[in-house]
Symmetry: C2
Subunit: 154 residues, 2 copies
């Protein structure tokens, strides 16, 4: 997949032209993830790759790239949702720490990764979201989605 | 350095007891970094390790661990400063993308990493802040600190 190495396609991705996330981030299921809940500013999604168990993303609803592209109200609203989801993830999975990251090298559409860490996690490890691939059963995805959605509705 | 692997010392770090960042995050220079600017909610600092060239951190002034430990006003204020600093870093270093991360495995005191990426950066690479160590000259640190501080005063 292209990134900033290809200036022409990167400029298009930045501008939102043919942005893959704009196309499918609202769907109940897309190639990479399931919808957990639609909030005011973001879609909360569960990546199919649960190698980092409990990994959740919040994708900003409108096309934006950097935090400083948001209005003060959007920034505050989006981060309030990030904070609420991080708390729900921490409680759901009994995490010792939450990692929060915005990368966007492959798709710069603004999205925050919420990654719970456990006593068994390596605290010295690099953060690499494609370290491995762990697929769960459909029942297990559904259980997590339902439980997190319920926590976010409280 | 201990992390969550040692429950007793981790609990102390979470509570702020002997928190290394509370002790030295306000200093003009500490073991790891230089102060760029004091803002309302955060200290903006330049790590001495500039292996990721342009790496800057914002440390929350008071002791806190997770984003959801902050009041709505603190969260909004802190993230507004993160956004402003990210913009300054992007412009200073002519970045193609900004990475934003809160980890805290070694010191859970809330701090955000701002890491500029360049056309020459590997978009598929893991995020590892200790991939290598690059020390700059004192003159080069000072040039960056002055230039960023000026941008943040505009």
């Amino acid at each position: 997949m292209d990134s900033w190495e290809n200036t022409e396609s990167w400029e298009k991705l930045l501008s939102g032209e043919n942005c893959p996330m704009c196309n499918d981030i609202h769907l109940k299921e897309n190639k990479h993830s399931f919808l957990i809940k639609e909030l005011k500013y973001s879609f909360v999604r569960l990546p199919k790759n649960q190698f980092d168990f409990g990994w959740v993303i919040l994708a900003f609803k409108n096309h934006a790239v950097e935090l400083y592209d948001l209005s003060p109200e959007e920034l505050s609203g989006f981060m309030s949702e990030v904070s609420m989801v991080a708390k729900a993830v921490s409680e759901e999975f009994n995490a010792v720490k939450i990692y929060y990251s915005i990368f966007g090298a492959l798709c710069p559409h603004l999205h925050m990764h919420i990654i719970p860490k456990y006593v068994s996690s390596d605290p010295h490890g690099a953060v690499e979201l494609n370290n491995g691939f762990a697929e769960l059963s459909l029942e297990e995805y559904e259980r997590i989605i339902t439980s997190l959605a319920n926590r976010l509705s409280e």
